[in-house]
Amino acid sequence: MSATNYGKAIREGFAHLLANHQDVFVMGQGLWSPWYVGSSMTELEKEFGKERVIDTPVSEWACTSAAVGASLYGKRPIVVHPRMDFMVFATDSLVNQAAKWSHMLGGQANPGLTVRGIINRGGEQGAQHSQSLQSWYAHIPGLRVVMPYTVADARDLLIAATLSRDPVLYIDDRWLYGQEAELPAAVDVDLAALGNQVLREGSDVTLAGCSWGTELAMRAADALAGQGVSAEVVDLRILNPLDAEPLIRSVEKTGRLVAVDASWRTCGVAGEAVARVSEALEPAAWKARPRRITLPDAPAPSSKVLEDIYYPSVEDVVDAALSTLS
C-alpha cells in the first residue's frame, strides 16, 4: 500500500497501462504541459516517450476520430480532453462513430478507445469552462460511461476502460483531485467485473450520486450521522450501461432516496436514478417522495455571487435528506 491522491492515482493508471500494454497510447492537447491536467499526467512523455504520449494540434474532432480509427487496428488509444466543454467538438467521433461501429457493422468492428473528459469548473470560469456532460453520453447506446469518485477508482476505472473492447468515456472532476488514500499496486481490471457500489451503509435514507455528487453525498452522510440519521451512499460510478441493482436494493431497504448529480436536472443522471428505482419498487416501498439535488437548469455563471448559489452544497443534500424524514 502506498499513499496517493486522486490526481496521482490517475497517473498511476496511465503508467500501469503504458508499462504493461504496448498497444496503449495517449493523445490530447497539453499532454506535454502538465498544468492542463493537474498532477494526473506529470512527465508521462518522459517515461514512455513522445511517440506514445502525443501532444496534439488543437483538433478535438480529428484527434478523437483518429483514436477511433487506430482502435479498429489493434490499438487501445486514450484521448484526453483537458476540459470536456471542448470535447463537444468530438461529438461525431463519440456519438456517430465510436458508439455505432459495432452495431451497424454487425459486431465485426470494435472501437475500443477510451476518452477522458475532465470537468474543470468553478473559480468564475463561466459557461464554457464548467460543463459536466455525463448525461448526454450516458444516453447513447454503444458508449460506456464511467465516473470515478474514489481514489482507487480514479486509477482502476481508467485501467478497466482502456482494456475494454468498447468505447468508454471516463470523466474525472478536478474538484476531487485532492482526495487521499492508500492504494495497493495497480493490476489489470476487467470492467465487466465492476458494478455500482454501496460506499457507506445506512438504514434511514439512500443518497445516490456520481463523481462530485458522491462527494456531496458522503459529506452529507457524515453531517446526518451527527443528527442521528443513518444515510446509505450508493456511488453510480458506471453510468452506461447503468447498473441500477445496488441502488434499487438500497432504496428497498431505506424507503427514501436523494439523488445527487452535480450537473443539470432535466434528463439527467439524478432523474434516471429516480426512474429506475420507481419502476422497480412498489409504491408501498416508498416512505417519502424521492428528491433530486442538481445544478439549476442554467449555464454556469461567472460572477462569484451567482456561482455561490449555482453549485449544490452539502447542506442542500442534508436538507433534502431530512425532508424525506419529516
Partner: protein, 351 residues
C-alpha cells in the same frame, strides 16, 4: 457574388477526355483486372438500382455508376492489410478492394449473410478482410478515422496505409482540414482520395466553393497532391501508386483529386436532372461519353485484345451481379437477438 474560379479547366469538361485512355505501360493482366472490377461495380449497382425501383431494397442507396475508375485505380495498389474508409457512396470502394458482391447484395437486402451481417445496409459496409475498414454516411466522418488507422500503422511500423475516400462536399467540413493538418504534422501513411463529381447532394460546386479545385486544401498543408481525370483508371492508378509508395516508405500523406461525375442522382436510381441548379439532361448525356469503362475497353481493343474476350469479361460481371442478387433473396434474415447483441463488443471484458 464573386465569379467562382474554374481552375479544373478541361478536367471538368465532359467534352474532353473522351477517347481511349493511355494504357501507359500497364500489363494486359492488370488492365483486364481493372476492367473486370469496374464492370462488376457498374453491373452490381445497376442490379441494386433495379431492386430499388422494384421496391425490393429500401435502404438509401447512393450509386457510383460513372465513378468506377477512381475506386479501382486506387485499389490497384492496396493490399488486404491496408485500411480503406468510405462514405455514403461506397459500393465501389468495397467492391474495388475485393469485397464480395454476394455479401453486398445480401447487405442491401438486410440479410444475415451481408457484409455487415444485415445490420448496415448500403451505407454501412464492412470488408476489413480485403482492406476495407468500413463506410458510414456522416459526410467527412471517416476522414479522420483513416488518419487514425494510418497512425496505428505507423506506430506498428507495418507499412500499411489508411485511405479516406470522400467527395467535394466533404471538403467543406472542418474536420477535413483538421485531418489533413494532423496527417501532415505527424507524417502519417494516409492517402486522401477525393472524388470530385462537381455536386454535393444537390448543389453545384460553384455555388459552394470559390474554386472548383479542392486540391488547394491539401496543397495548403504541404501534402503531395495530384489532380487527375477521375475517369481514367490507368492515370488514377499511376498517381495512387506513387503516393501510396511514398506513404509506405514513411514519407507522409498524399492527396488525389479525381474529377469525375455520377450518372445517377445523389441518392436512388434516377438521374437527378431536376435537382441542383446546373445539372441537366444534356450534361448527364455528355458525361456518359466520358465513360471510364468504355474508354479502357477501347484502349485494350486498340492494343489488339480480342473484342469478343473483352465482351465476355463484361458479360461475366453481369452474370455475377445477377447471381448475387438471386442468392440475396434466399439469404436468411438476422436473428432478433442481433438488435441488442451488437451494441457492445462483449460485456466489457478485457481483450
Amino acid at each position: 457574388m464573386n465569379q467562382p474560379l474554374k481552375q479544373l479547366g478541361a478536367l471538368a469538361d465532359p467534352a474532353a477526355f473522351r477517347g481511349p485512355v493511355d494504357l501507359q505501360n500497364t500489363p494486359d493482366a492488370t488492365a483486364l483486372d481493372m476492367l473486370e472490377r469496374m464492370a462488376l461495380i457498374r453491373r452490381a449497382e445497376e442490379q441494386i438500382a433495379d431492386m430499388v425501383e422494384a421496391g425490393e431494397v429500401n435502404c438509401p442507396c447512393h450509386f457510383a455508376i460513372g465513378q468506377e475508375a477512381t475506386a479501382v485505380g486506387v485499389a490497384a495498389h492496396l493490399r488486404p492489410t491496408d485500411r480503406g474508409f468510405g462514405a455514403h457512396r461506397s459500393h465501389s470502394h468495397y467492391l474495388a478492394s475485393g469485397g464480395s458482391v454476394d455479401k453486398l447484395m445480401a447487405e442491401v437486402l438486410g440479410r444475415d449473410t451481408g457484409a455487415s451481417r444485415g445490420m448496415g445496409g448500403s451505407m454501412h459496409l464492412y470488408g476489413a478482410d480485403t482492406g476495407f475498414a468500413g463506410s458510414v454516411p456522416i459526410v467527412a466522418g471517416t476522414v479522420p478515422l483513416a488518419v487514425g488507422a494510418g497512425l496505428a500503422a505507423k506506430l506498428d511500423g507495418s507499412g500499411d496505409v489508411g485511405v479516406a475516400y470522400f467527395g467535394d462536399g466533404a471538403c467543406e467540413e472542418g474536420v477535413v482540414h483538421e485531418s489533413l493538418n494532423l496527417a501532415a504534422i505527424m507524417q502519417l501513411p494516409v492517402l486522401f482520395v477525393v472524388e470530385n463529381n462537381l455536386y454535393s447532394s444537390h448543389l453545384d460546386i460553384h455555388l459552394r466553393q470559390p474554386s472548383d479545385r479542392v486540391a488547394r486544401f491539401a496543397e495548403s498543408h504541404g501534402i503531395a497532391t495530384h489532380v487527375v481525370d477521375g475517369n481514367d483508371v490507368v492515370e488514377v492508378a499511376r498517381v495512387a501508386g506513387e503516393l501510396i509508395g511514398r506513404a509506405r516508405a514513411g514519407e507522409g500523406p498524399g492527396f488525389i483529386e479525381a474529377v469525375t461525375y455520377r450518372w445517377r442522382g445523389h441518392v436512388g436510381p434516377d438521374e437527378n436532372i431536376d435537382v441542383g441548379l446546373r445539372r441537366s439532361a444534356e450534361e448527364v448525356a455528355a458525361w456518359k461519353k466520358r465513360d471510364p469503362i468504355a474508354r479502357l475497353r477501347a484502349a485494350l481493343e486498340a492494343r489488339g485484345l480480342a473484342a469478343s474476350d473483352l465482351d465476355a469479361r463484361l458479360d461475366a460481371a453481369e452474370t455475377a451481379a445477377k447471381a448475387a442478387r438471386a442468392k440475396g433473396y434466399d439469404a436468411p434474415w438476422p436473428p432478433q437477438s442481433a438488435l441488442l447483441d451488437h451494441v457492445y463488443a462483449g460485456r466489457g471484458e478485457a481483450i
